[in-house]
Subunit: 374 residues, 2 copies
């Protein structure tokens, strides 16, 4: 794999699916997330146990902060170009997991409205409306509103200032090497993300501290650029290099592409109509055989099945139930129609509960967007 | 003159002296400032009469606003990397002139501390201290504090936001064509200047309005980039294309280079010690002859004399006195020693008065930097 190809695979703005994690991790210095490291966290999470989160940088620094009862920041955000979907849910759950690991953790939740403007030509007004929905989803998913700082990039002068100042230390060739040939606006969006990630370490928020940034592996260019610039400003700002965890890119329901808002049949949002969700699940790509008879005899293939993937990544919390389903599928005991029905029931139940939780937090979300913190 | 050479001459960050204004003006669409246009302004100014200000873009729009009693903005600023010197005085006087032309004019005074950081590696703390001195100079030079908005780039979220959003519409090739090959930080400083120039037209300041930006001709790349981006956002923001006036680049006292902080013997600051100013004037490059005898016989050459230039551009308000000096020099009636003595007296008197005015406005300057406007 040539360098160009590596850069193309590691592209936060493309829908290209990564094929070989080991090679990418080695090329860029991401370390595999080992069972030993996972066991040092105070509680577990299905995304860790099931190897959806597969890599990290300096997670030890966060484990240490938890152990010592020291403050740390959890930093991530959302590009407010639509409702929460399965992909946003993944990052959201990771953020909330890290927020809950210690009462010294504080979540920084960024609404990337400048990136939405530069990458998607979406106005700040539209972003503002979508942001309310996104914050409601975060709260419904369990974000603790007492330990969070919520902001929009376009309104956070400290982020924009940091991006403007750090731009001094970025050459065109560096940024081109990291992101490939992109527009000036996207390059600057990248610098603003650097500002986002370093915001928790500014004096207004108590100065340098460990920071964990849970992202999909395609977002690593931002982490690399941030760590590079944090290192260049260790002396003046005292920045610690931010830590990160990386989850796999999840294929969509059609089984072919990186999940993306660009292919609506391959994913669904957390507030989508039940009928629509059902139809998408019923049409998902599975590991079934051409006939029921053949499937009963030879068994299905859960390893390539998007229904199994949906349950494994998102909707089946019980490891035991998941394992049982896996072997029943392999043994031909359960066939695709039954399994899809099970998935539809589980998902619609979850979505219904989520909808109810969302309704209760609308006022709180509005307040957070105005007051930034409680 | 090839394109590369044109770009090199029009470089806001170099100390290269422009040789052929006509060619540059034609290449970039700057129009010569005619006597007819000057006569349409309600009052005159020595910098206009003496053709120090030589070019403009859309000055008619400002003349019209004055005539109709409509609001307009005067926008410029300073990179706070040192005390006011003769060059900063020039731009300052132009700003103040345009501010005083109408009671509907409002001055926007920008402290370009992000540019000082990116171009000169100067910290925001140092810029903040220098800025106080600069605002004191502005007030001593006659800036009306009741119709001004003073701000630092690093603290004005609306400017940083505008720069971030407008970056979407800038390609690397466009910005390279305008500025030549520069660092990412300087490109972004340029975008922040675009934000500065368009700030007066944002809704918070009453929306779209004519804006005049008095600059040295070397700053035209900023004006061009701004007008290009303002045009692209005519629909969403309603921006009017900003107008500009251009002054010649003034040679320094040694007669050789564009006046610059980089060559301290060629210029002096408005707060410099009298002894030091005197020494620099006494050492200035003149149009004198090798011997006094020869000068008495053949006369001096005021056209190449930096003492004459100093009086013409800065310190002799009377056109008549200036004309008289010119012909006396040509006719050998006054020789360099006498003329230098006259210049020293005039300059030191001016500097002394300026110093006294400055002392009276320190509190006011401090207030403006905190409250931004009165």
């Amino acid at each position: 794999m040539g360098y160009e190809e590596v850069v193309r695979q590691f592209d936060p703005w493309s829908s290209f699916l990564i094929k070989d994690y080991d090679k990418l991790f080695k090329a860029f210095g991401i370390r595999p997330l080992t069972g030993e490291l996972i066991s040092q966290l105070p509680t577990s999470h299905r995304l860790l146990r099931r190897r959806i989160i597969i890599g990290h940088r300096d997670l030890e620094r966060i484990i240490n902060a938890i152990r010592e009862g020291e403050e740390y920041a959890v930093m991530s955000g959302i590009k407010p170009t639509g409702e929460f979907h399965l992909g946003s849910k993944l990052t959201a759950e990771e953020m909330i997991f890290f927020q809950k690991l210690s009462n010294k953790a504080r979540l920084f939740y960024c609404i990337a409205d400048v990136e939405a403007y530069n990458d998607n030509r979406q106005s700040l007004e539209v972003s503002s409306k979508v942001a309310l929905n996104n914050v409601m989803d975060m709260l419904a998913l369990g974000m603790d509103p007492r330990r969070v700082y919520v902001y929009k990039q376009s309104e956070e002068v400290r982020v924009l200032r940091l991006a403007s100042l750090l731009s001094r230390d970025v050459t065109y060739s560096t940024i081109k090497a990291i992101y490939g040939e992109k527009s000036f606006g996207l390059y600057f969006s990248a610098l603003i993300q650097v500002g986002d990630i370093l915001l928790p370490q500014l004096p207004d928020f108590g100065g340098p501290k460990p920071t964990i940034v849970p992202v999909g592996v395609d977002q690593d260019p931002h982490i690399r650029l941030t760590r590079d610039l944090a290192k260049k400003h260790e002396k003046d700002y005292g920045f610690l290099l931010p830590s990160a965890t990386y989850h796999r890119l999840v294929r969509d329901l059609t089984g072919r592409e990186k999940m993306s808002k660009r292919n609506p049949m391959g994913m669904f949002t957390l507030t989508e109509e039940p009928e629509s969700i059902k139809r998408k699940i019923m049409n998902a790509y599975t590991g079934g055989r051409p006939t029921v008879k053949e499937q009963r005899e030879r068994g299905g293939n859960p390893d390539i099945c998007m229904i199994y993937e949906l349950l494994r990544v998102h909707f089946e919390e019980s490891d035991e139930a998941l394992r049982e389903l896996y072997y029943k599928c392999k043994g031909g005991e359960v066939i695709c129609g039954e399994c899809k029905q099970l998935a539809v029931e589980k998902v619609l139940k979850w979505v219904d509960e989520h909808r109810k939780k969302r309704e209760k937090v609308r006022d709180l979300a509005e307040r957070l967007l105005i007051e930034h913190m409680l």
